[in-house]
């Protein structure tokens, strides 16, 4: 019982920890978005991601007589200088440029005093390096300063974009009313200074608006929102803090949903185990139940007693699971936060806080699981006639649903319908593959039942050439006349093997596709980017002076530079990229799903109307086809682009539109680029060029083909780390379930063991017979689970993944992994059977 409670606890813990870790990773984003004023009332952003500074007077005019503080914000990234290719993953800090003078006025606006210990100057004023000739002033968060041991007045070295700068710590951010929960990677700078450092002189990323506190604040907020929306046109959008808070959640929804569903599967396997154990307990205590029934205890009372026992076990397992889950979340959160960091946005989450809502959800699922698992054995205990229970050698049916192949067939048919169903559209236009998830559960349930039809076949096969192996002959006869317990054990294995196989197909398909994609797109010799560029939210860019100098290096044969901006289209995040479409010797190739016309590349995307190509996920998410036109927001106004081709892209799930880099630079008035792909002249020493460039430009990182590929695959493996863990948990739990099922079957067949011994079978021979029986169950579970995993793989690759992310993956079955699993499951199954059989025989001898 202790083991069982532990297993349920593991299921609850897996679910709870994943939910907590997800929540922590997303809340890391929330904290950071709330940080500038702590409690801004409105956020004004542009669909193009950028606003010109001269928009501020317009906003002021639109607000008219409404009293409001405007706080323009520019975001950037600063990186801790790193050596060599380590710069790729260098520690990055989120830098926010704000008008410090205006921000310091907030204190008076909010009528609160800065707390003791705050070392931020009362009036920082304009102290830009440009004006004072000194080093740039930075204000790290208290956590960041503590972590790095930075003190006020200390000189520190940081990389902004592609250059190293000496900065001085002008103060530590106060942790007062308007500076809540600062993340540990936050640095605040004065806006003009940051604009100067990052060559974004007339640019801001958002404007935060705050009204004086009081009961008028809400009225002003509504009125201001209305007036600003009227004055916006296409240039900006107004959002409340709540809308901002949901941004991160929406962005990572599919990712989080996938993990939650996976952790639910761990719970399903837990349910199966409780069911197995309670069934075993019913078998063990049949004489006791029969005696109670004979003494006049009603079937209802017996049923209630068993259900109570299941719930008590569920309660103990749930409490233990919540505690274990919280501890596991502290370990999982780093893996998930790293994935979120690499794929979605910056966050510095290291710990997952306890959340009562998530705890209640996990506890409810745990209790529900134990109630469901207890129901069938309780029914069996109460409904089997006492006489039958007292009779020796009676084999009970167990769960009767598992003996109805028609039910299994019906579930599989339903699964096939759900398999083909379209996704659910959310209010914000995103796709949620609910039918796909439903199909997964229906396939699993149906296949679990249908797998039972294989027992007669394997029973017959097991008899083949069993002349000299009476143990196998006996085991085959057991399989030929399989009981409900055989079927239940098989169903559990089918679920676990299918879950394992399905996940393996997903990961294998992803890996094959991404590797092929990398082979195709990474043909250049060297790749140049700013330090810290492996983080999805890095805003570091190569300045024109830097990339043009490198481009003109005599060692360079060809070079392709590219830039990208995150924009919002139809209210949803996507990416607008610019690259050298006319590059002579194409170093950056693409896998074309719809190839653009020849003249597109020859003309570099130019023409009367801008032309561009889109990624597969863009085409899917925004329902665009080749030939369609799309109006893209840019700081210089909306631009119409004709879409002329579709390419495969696994770099992001938001979708990408690519236009000529010159065009993009003109629209955004920004000559900086995100990265360069460089082909060197024949005979050039890659390592020498790499080293020379990094010495000349310490703020950049130059990686060769192999290094970049390794880094890309590292991020890939990190993304699937949690999935790997969950699938192994599933298989281990199912094998434990097989052992429990065998134990309950053999307990029920105690008199048969006596007969076998009387007929001359020794302990080892009985062990061998049960090993064959167990291996037979494992083989059926493996066969049906293996087939099901191919179906689930198809579902995940072509339905769930496509609907959630819009990616086409090459369906790949990792046969080596599946064969290893097969050998492992049958081997461990046989071992479990041998040990169970011989131990029980030994025990029955001892008890005699």
């Amino acid at each position: 019982m202790l083991l069982l409670t532990g297993i349920l606890a593991l299921g609850v813990a897996a679910f709870f920890s994943i939910r907590l870790a997800n929540r922590a990773a997303v809340s890391g984003f929330r904290l950071f978005s709330e940080n500038v004023t702590g409690t801004s009332d409105l956020f004004l952003t542009s669909p193009s991601g950028e606003l010109p500074v001269n928009v501020l007077p317009e906003i002021r005019r639109a607000l008219d007589d409404i009293p409001a503080g405007l706080f323009p914000v520019l975001e950037a990234t600063a990186t801790e200088p790193a050596r060599g290719v380590d710069g790729f993953t260098a520690t990055s800090f989120h830098v926010i440029g704000v008008d410090l003078a205006a921000l310091s006025n907030l204190r008076y606006l909010s009528s609160s005093e800065a707390p003791a210990g705050a070392t931020m100057p009362d009036t920082p004023g304009r102290s830009s390096a440009a004006e004072t000739g000194g080093s740039p002033a930075v204000f790290p968060s208290r956590l960041l300063a503590a972590k790095h041991g930075w003190r006020q007045g200390q000189e520190i070295v940081l990389v902004f974009d592609d250059a190293i700068h000496e900065c001085h710590v002008a103060g530590i951010l106060p942790t007062g009313e308007f500076q809540v929960s600062q993340p540990e990677n936050l640095i605040v700078m004065d806006l003009p200074e940051l604009q100067g450092l990052t060559a974004q002189l007339a640019r801001i990323h958002r404007v935060e608006i705050r009204f004086p506190p009081g009961h008028w604040s809400e009225v002003w907020g509504k009125e201001a929102g209305k007036r600003l929306a009227e004055a916006a046109g296409d240039r900006w959008q107004v959002e409340t803090p709540e809308q901002q808070k949901t941004a991160a959640s929406t962005m990572t929804r599919a990712f989080r949903l996938n993990l939650s569903i996976l952790s639910c599967l761990a719970l399903v396997v837990g349910v199966y185990l409780i069911l197995q154990a309670l069934e075993a307990a019913v078998v063990r205590r049949r004489p006791e139940i029969a005696t109670l029934r004979a003494l006049g205890v009603s079937p209802r009372a017996v049923r209630r007693a068993w259900q109570f026992e299941a719930l008590a076990m569920g309660l103990a397992g749930t409490i233990a699971g919540l505690l274990l889950g919280w501890l596991m979340a502290q370990l999982t959160v780093r893996a998930i936060a790293q994935t979120v960091n690499a794929l979605y946005f910056s966050n510095t989450t290291h710990a997952a806080a306890w959340h009562w809502g998530e705890a209640a959800l996990a506890a409810s699922l745990g209790m529900l699981a134990s109630a469901v698992a207890g129901w069938l054995p309780a029914r069996e205990a109460s409904e089997t006639p006492p006489a039958q229970m007292l009779r020796r050698g009676t084999r009970s049916d167990g769960i009767r649903a598992l003996m109805r192949p028609r039910l299994g067939l019906a579930l599989c048919l339903l699964a096939a319908v759900a398999h083909a169903a379209p996704p659910l559209k959310t209010a914000d236009g995103a796709n949620l593959p609910w039918a796909g998830y439903a199909a997964a559960f229906l396939w699993v349930a149906g296949a679990g039942i249908l797998a039972s039809t294989l027992f007669p076949g394997i029973g017959l096969a097991g008899r083949w050439r069993s002349q000299r192996d009476p143990g196998r002959y006996y085991a085959a006869s057991q399989l030929r006349h399989a009981t409900g317990r055989h079927r239940l054990a098989t169903a559990g294995l089918v679920v676990a093997v299918a879950m394992f196989g399905g996940m393996s197909v997903l990961i294998g398909s992803f890996e094959t596709t991404v590797t092929l994609w990398l082979d195709q797109v990474m043909k250049a010799d060297l790749f140049v980017a700013c330090q810290g560029t492996s983080h999805a939210s890095s805003r570091n860019r190569l300045h024109a002076a830097t990339w043009q100098t490198l481009q003109e290096d005599p060692a360079v044969a060809d070079c392709e530079v590219s830039q990208y901006h995150q924009i919002k289209l139809d209210g949803r995040l996507t990416v607008l990229a610019g690259t050298d479409l006319k590059s002579r010797d194409r170093s950056l190739e693409r896998i074309w799903l719809v190839e653009p016309p020849d003249d597109f590349l020859q003309s570099g995307g130019g023409g009367e109307i801008a032309r561009g190509i889109m990624s597969e996920s863009f085409a899917y998410r925004f329902r665009r086809s080749v030939g369609d036109r799309v109006e893209i927001p840019t700081p210089s106004g909306p631009r119409e682009i004709e879409l002329v081709g579709i390419f495969a892209d696994y770099g992001n799930e938001f979708g990408t539109v690519v236009v000529a880099r010159e065009q993009l630079a003109a629209w955004f008035d920004d000559q900086r680029v995100a990265r360069m792909a460089v082909t060197l002249r024949n005979g050039e020493d890659f390592a020498a060029v790499q080293s020379r460039w990094m010495q000349a430009h310490p703020g950049i990182v130059v990686t060769n083909n192999r290094e970049l590929r390794t880094e890309a695959l590292r991020i890939f493996h990190q993304t699937f780390a949690v999935t790997h863990g969950l699938k192994w948990i599933g298989v281990m739990v199912a094998l434990a379930g097989l052992a429990m099922a065998l134990a309950s079957m053999l307990l029920e067949r105690g008199s048969e063991l006596t007969t076998l011994r009387a007929l001359g079978l020794g302990q080892r021979e009985i062990g061998r017979a049960t090993a064959w029986e167990s291996a037979g169950i494992a083989a059926i579970g493996l066969f049906a689970g293996g087939l099901l995993s191919l179906v689930l793989g198809h579902l995940i690759i072509y339905v769930i993944n496509r609907q959630a992310f819009g990616w086409t993956l090459l369906y790949t079955v990792p046969w080596d992994e599946l064969l290893s699993l097969g050998a492992g499951v049958i081997g461990i199954g046989a071992l479990v059977g041998y040990l169970t059989g011989s131990r029980l025989t030994q025990r029955s001898e001892r008890d005699r």
């Binding site: 076998l756 007929l759 020794g762």
Partner: protein
Amino acid sequence: MLLRVSNLHKSFGPNEVLRSVNLELRHGERIALIGPSGSGKSTLLNCLGGLERADAGELTFDGTDLRALSGEALAALRRERLSSVFQFFHLLPTLTARENVAFPLRLLGVPPEERRQRVSALIDQVQLTERQDALPEQLSGGEQQRVAIARALVIRPRLILADEPTGNLDSVTGAAILDLLESLTESHKTALILVTHSREATRICRRVLKMRDGTLAPADDQGLHHIHTSTATP
């Protein structure tokens, strides 16, 4: 002498079940053990069959000291020379009647053709030719016990240990089973130790030994308690 038991002791914790039991059995001899519940009849039978280990005393079967044998060797002995018949039949529920009878021959590795012949002959002898493909749950109690007797005889054992073989049957069926046991052990020259509560069952045995409180009652000059029994009416 097929079986020689001398000063056999067996206890379960503080409870001494067998106290200095002595017994001798000749080849082909049939004896009955009678006695009240808890007197140690079944325990003695289990010790004789190697299913239970005696604590002390001597136990020789067919020239082999059973107490010196390992568990595996005892299993081999049961496979080759000793059979049991139980009150609750204890057929293997997933094998048909014919397969149950054939199973001990499989354990011995008897070739298929010989196995078929021996099984068919016995199935005929116990009159189950028509029911040989039925599973145990499809057979009546009497039919199941006939299968169990055929299974016990199929290896041509030296000794059959029968523990209340008619205890779960009505009197008519019980009598028929006893007749069958008598005739088959006679024709196969097989010794039989029959544990029973029923005096009626003792009619097929030449000697009847009475057990009380773990001991056999005072015996004749061979050290056995000999009760003369005439053929009783059912």
